[in-house]
Subunit: 603 residues, 2 copies
C-alpha cells in the first residue's frame, strides 16, 4: 500500500468518493444509453489506476522537470526523459482517449469521471499532464469538426498517444485579440493549404516524445472578412503522412524560440514559425495544413472546444491547490513550534503548529477553497455529461445553458482562489515554504499561470458579463439562479443548520439577481463592463457558496471526522467568504466609473 | 539625463517629492536640533544620488543575480561580482551610515528620508539592498546596546561598509518561536563567550564581499531562565580582530548549507553552524562571541531593532510593488491589443491596452496599493524622527505610541498588497508577465518573501491585536484613532469631495473603535486572537484609506495630471477597497470560532 499512502498526500481519495458518489451520484450515469454497461466499480477502477499512475509516474519528476526545464539544442527540444515515460504510461493505460467515444477508439467515459482522473495527474505534475490534455483536445476538435477522412487519419494515433496535439491561437501581435491574427493560408496542391506566419505561446510546440505533433492552427484565407469572422482552422502536422498513414516528410514549421516561464516549466512553450522555408515539403516552402470544417468558421470551432479547455484549467488549478493544501496540512501536523492555549510555559514541549488558531484558519481556508473548486469543476463535468446523455432535449438545453454560464467561473475561480490556497500553503510552511526544498513554492509558481492562459481573468469576466449575461439576455443567468434557489429551498426544508446557511446564500443570490437585472435594464454597458471583474468574482463566490451548501446537504446524517470537516468547511465559506461578495456587488450596482474615468496621463 | 529617464521607470521621483515635501514637509525637520543645518536641498541631493546609484549600479544586475544565484564552492560562497561592486559604491557614497548619528561616523539623516532612499534601492534590486539593510541594522544595534569599547571596535567598519552585518535569530527547531532556541554561550577567556549551535535562515550569512561579517546572535547562557527571558545577544565576527582592530584569526563558525529560494535569490541565505570546531580560534573550538548589553536581555534588544527592520520590510515590499506598477504601466501604454469603446471595427488599428477598462482597473488598483504603501512607510519614518527629535516628551511619547501600533501594519500591509500589485502587474502583461523575459515575474517572486520574514503575517497580527491593542489596553489604539479622526475632521472642514470621502472613513473608524472596545471588554481572548489576522487586515485597510485621505488633502488646489491621479487613486481606495473592511470586522465582532473549533482530525 506504499503507493496509496503516498498518493493520499497528493489528493484525497475520500473526498473524490464523496463528491462523485455521495454527491453527484455518478453511478446513475450507467443507466443512460451513452454510458450503458459502465458501473461504479469501473469508475473506481479507473480512479485507482489514475491514482497509482499519477503517484508512481507523474509525481516523482515534478520538481526535476521544473529544475531541468526544456532547452533547445541543435534545433531539438531536450526534455527530461521522465516526462515522455510518464506520458507513455498514460497512453498505454488508454487514458489519452478516456473521454473519447468508443467509435474513435476511446473509452467513452463521462467527463465528470475523467475530470477527477485528470485532477490526480494535475495534482501530481501539472506540466507533464498538459501534454495529454492538449492531445485529447486536438482529437476532440478533429472529431467534432473534421471530415471523415481527416478523423480516420489523425484521430487514432492521437488517441493512442503516438501523436501529440497542440492549439495554436495567439500570435506575437495578437495575444487575447484573435481578431488580429495574420497567419495566412494559401491554397496548395491536392486541396491542402500552405500556411505562413508566427504562432506564440504554443505549449507542446516541439519535442521528441511522439512520432508526430498535430498543431491545430488558426489562420486567414485570402480575402477572408476582417476580424474574428475571417479565421479558419487547419491541422498542421510536424510530419506529413504517407498515403498509408506512415510518417513522411518534415513539414515547414520550426520552433523559433522557447519561452522561459516562472513555473509550469515541464511544459515546453515557444514560438512556432510556419512557412519560413526551413523545410520544403513536397518541394516547396510553406507549412502544409488541412482545412478543418468550413472556411472562416475556425473561431466557432475553437470556441466549441474552448469550454472544455477552460474547465480543464479549472481542474488543474483546483488540483494544484488541493495538493498544496494536503502538503501544508501534513507539515502543520508534524512541525513543532511554540505553544498554544493556556499552557504557555516555555519548559513544556512545543506543539504541532496545527494547534495554533491562525494556522488552522489558513488550513481551513485552503480546504474551503480547494474542495469548493474541485466540486465546481466536477459539477461542470457532470453537466457536460448531461448535455450529451440526457434524453429530454429541453433538459439537455438547460444543462448546456447552465454550463455556458458556469464555464468562465470554472476557469477563473479555481485559478484565483487555489492560487490563494497555494500562497497560504507557503505561509503555513513559513521560511521553508519559500525554499525550493519544499513543493509548495513550485505549486504556487505553477498555479500562477492559470489566471492567464486559455483566456485571462479579465477575458473570463467579459465572457461572463458581456456574452453570457448581457448577450444571453439573462437566459443563462436565470438557469443558474434557479438551480441555486432550488438547493436553497431544499436546505430550508431540511431545516436546522442547513436552513441558516441557506438564509445567507438566499440573500446573496437575491442581491445578485437584483444587480444583474439592473445591468440588463441599464443602458450604460461600458460602465457595466468596466465592473465585469468584480461581477465575475462576486458570482464565483456565490456559486462556490452554493456548492458548499450542496456538499453540506450531501453529508446528510453522516457522522465522523470526514463529514464534520465538510460541514465545518461549508460553515467557514458561508461565514468568512460569502460576505466578501457584498462590496463587490455594490460596485456593480453603482456602475462604478472610477477606473473607467481615469485618463492615461493621470497614472 | 539618460539615468534619470531610466530611473523614472523604477520609482517615481515626482511622487516622492509630493510625499516628502508637499505632504510630510520634511524640510521642517531642519529646524530641530537633531537635524540642524539639514536643508531641503541636502535631502534632494541625497535622493538624487540614490536614484542614480540605484539605477546605474543596482538595477542592472537584478535579473542576473536571480539567475546566477549564490553557490557554495569549496566552502566559499560565490556571488555575482556586481553585487559587491554595487554595495561598495553604496558604501563609498556614505549611505551605509546615512541614518546613523554623526558621532558614530554617520550622516544623521532623518529616517523619513533614508526610507525614501532605500525605496530607490529596493525598487532597483531588493536582494542586493538587503546586505546594506542588515549592516546598518547591526551597527544600530551595537550603538543602542553595546559598550563603548564594543561600539568603537565594530561600528566604524560597519558604517564604512568594510564589515557587513547579519541577524541570527531562528534555529531549525525554532522558527517563529524564539523561546525555543538552544544555541548556548559558555563563558570563555578574557570575558568573551564561546557559542555552540545552529542558526537558520541567515541572510548574508557568508560571502567574500566584506573584510569581515559581524553576526548578531541570540543564544542562551548556562542557567538562564527558560523561554524568551533567558536569551542573550552576542556579536560573533567571522574573523576576530587584533588589538588594533586588524583582521585576525578565523572564528569557529561555518556555513552548513545554502537555502534555495523562490526569489530574493541575490541575498545569500543559509544555515550557520557555530562551534563545530572547523576552526580553533585562540586554540580551542567554539565561536567566540561578545555579550552585548546585559545577560538575558537579548530579545528586548532585538525587539528594539525589530521595529526598524519590520518597517524596512514594508519599504522593500512597497518599492518592489511600485516598480512593478510602473513597468506594467509602461507596458500597457506600449502594447497594442484589441479595440475599445464604440470603435470595434476589426480593420481599425489596435489600441494600447491601457484603453481597456479592465486594464485601467488593474493599473489603478496597483497605483492605490503601492502609493498607499509608500505613504505608510514614509509616515512611519517621519514618526520615528519625531520620537528622536521632538522637544516635548509627551509629544515624543505620542509618536512612539502611534509608531508602535503602526509597525505591524507597516510590515504586513505592503507585503500583502504590493504582492497583490505585483500579481496585477503580471496580469497586465498577460503571458509575457509569466515569462522570465520580463521583470514583473521576478518582482512577484521576490515580494513573496515579505509576508514571511521578520515575523510572518500571522505574527504581525498577534503583535497588533495581542501586544499593541490588548496588552496596550487600548492606549496605542486611541492614539491611532485620534490621529485618523483629526484628519477626518480636517477633511470635513475642507468640505466638498473631501467631506464625502471622510464620511466613509469616519464610519469605518467608528466601527473599528467599537469592535476594538468589544475585544477589550470581552473575556474570550482566544476567540479574539483567532481573528487577529482579519483584525490586522481590516485595520491596515482603514489606515491606508486614512493616508489616502491625507494625500487627497495634501493635493490642495493642485492642478494637472499628477494631482488628478492622486485624487482618483484616493477615490478608488475609498470606493473599491475600504468597503472590504466591513466583512472582516464582522468576524471579529462575532468572535468567529469556525477555525478555532476545527479539530485536527476534521481536516
Amino acid at each position: 500500500m506504499n503507493a496509496s499512502t503516498l498518493a493520499a498526500r497528493i489528493l484525497s481519495r475520500r473526498d473524490l468518493q464523496f463528491l462523485l458518489h455521495e454527491w453527484l451520484e455518478i453511478a446513475e450515469l450507467g443507466s443512460r444509453p451513452r454510458y450503458s454497461g459502465q458501473s461504479a466499480d469501473l469508475y473506481d477502477d479507473v480512479l485507482e489506476l489514475a491514482e497509482r499512475l499519477a503517484t508512481d509516474r507523474f509525481a516523482p519528476h515534478n520538481r526535476s522537470s521544473d529544475v531541468d526545464e526544456p532547452r533547445l539544442e541543435d534545433g531539438r527540444v531536450i526534455l527530461e526523459p521522465a516526462i515522455g515515460e510518464a506520458l507513455a504510461a498514460y497512453s498505454e493505460a488508454s487514458l489519452m482517449g478516456m473521454s473519447i467515444d468508443e467509435e474513435f477508439g476511446g473509452m467513452q467515459l463521462p467527463l465528470v469521471l475523467t475530470t477527477a482522473v485528470n485532477a490526480w495527474f494535475h495534482a501530481a505534475n501539472t506540466s507533464t499532464t498538459a501534454y495529454a490534455m492538449l492531445t485529447t483536445a486536438a482529437a476532440n476538435m478533429l472529431i467534432a469538426c473534421g471530415s471523415e477522412p481527416q478523423v480516420k487519419r489523425w484521430v487514432p494515433p492521437l488517441v493512442a498517444g503516438r501523436f501529440f496535439g497542440t492549439m495554436c491561437l495567439s500570435e506575437p501581435q495578437a495575444g487575447s485579440s484573435l481578431a488580429d491574427i495574420t497567419t495566412r493560408a494559401e491554397p496548395g496542391e491536392d486541396g491542402c493549404h500552405r500556411l505562413f506566419g508566427t504562432k506564440m505561446w504554443i505549449s507542446g510546440a516541439e519535442h521528441e516524445m511522439a512520432e508526430n505533433i498535430v498543431h491545430m492552427v488558426l489562420a486567414r484565407l485570402a480575402g477572408a472578412p476582417a476580424g474574428v469572422k475571417g479565421i479558419s482552422l487547419f491541422a498542421v502536422p510536424r510530419y506529413l503522412l504517407d498515403e498509408d498513414g506512415a510518417i513522411g516528410e518534415r513539414n515547414d514549421l520550426v520552433l523559433a524560440g522557447l519561452n522561459h516561464k516562472m513555473g509550469f516549466r515541464g511544459t515546453v512553450n515557444g514560438v512556432l514559425s510556419l512557412g519560413e522555408g526551413a523545410h520544403q515539403p513536397k518541394g516547396a516552402p510553406g507549412a502544409i495544413g488541412y482545412l478543418i470544417g468550413e472556411p472562416n468558421q475556425g473561431l466557432t470551432y475553437m470556441f466549441r472546444m474552448m469550454n472544455e479547455a477552460r474547465i480543464g484549467v479549472g481542474v488543474a488549478a483546483a488540483a494544484v491547490g488541493y495538493t498544496g493544501y494536503l502538503k501544508s496540512l501534513q507539515y502543520a501536523r508534524e512541525r513543532l513550534q511554540g505553544r498554544s492555549g493556556p499552557q504557555r510555559d516555555p519548559s513544556s514541549p512545543q506543539v504541532p503548529i496545527i494547534a495554533h488558531a491562525d494556522v488552522r484558519r489558513m488550513l481551513l481556508a485552503q480546504k474551503a477553497y480547494v474542495e469548493g473548486a474541485l466540486a465546481l469543476v466536477l459539477y461542470c463535468g457532470r453537466l457536460h455529461d448531461d448535455t450529451v446523455s440526457l434524453e429530454d432535449p429541453a433538459e439537455r438545453r438547460a444543462a448546456e445553458s447552465l454550463l455556458e454560464i458556469l464555464t468562465p467561473i470554472a476557469k477563473s475561480w479555481p485559478a484565483q482562489w487555489c492560487l490563494a490556497a497555494n500562497s497560504l500553503a507557503i505561509q503555513v510552511h513559513g521560511g521553508y515554504g519559500y525554499s525550493r526544498e519544499y513543493d509548495v513554492e513550485q505549486h504556487y509558481r505553477d498555479n500562477r499561470l492559470n489566471p492567464i492562459h486559455e483566456g485571462t481573468h479579465g477575458i473570463q469576466a467579459a465572457d461572463l458579463l458581456g456574452r453570457k449575461v448581457i448577450r444571453g439576455e439573462g437566459g443563462n443567468f436565470k438557469q443558474l439562479s434557479a438551480r441555486m434557489l432550488r438547493t436553497i429551498a431544499r436546505a430550508e426544508e431540511t431545516g436546522g443548520e442547513a436552513r441558516s446557511l441557506a438564509r445567507a446564500l438566499r440573500l446573496a443570490v437575491e442581491r445578485l439577481e437584483m444587480v444583474t437585472a439592473g445591468i440588463l435594464s441599464n443602458g450604460d454597458r461600458d460602465a457595466a463592463l468596466a465592473n465585469a471583474t468584480p461581477y465575475l468574482e462576486a458570482t464565483g463566490h456565490i456559486v462556490i457558496a452554493w456548492l458548499w451548501l450542496e456538499q453540506f446537504l450531501a453529508t446528510g446524517h453522516g457522522e465522523g471526522s470526514f463529514y464534520e470537516g465538510k460541514r465545518q468547511a461549508a460553515r467557514f465559506f458561508v461565514r468568512q467568504e460569502l460576505p466578501k461578495v457584498e462590496p463587490l456587488l455594490d460596485l456593480i450596482a453603482d456602475l462604478d466609473r472610477t477606473a473607467l474615468d481615469m485618463p492615461d496621463d493621470w497614472f
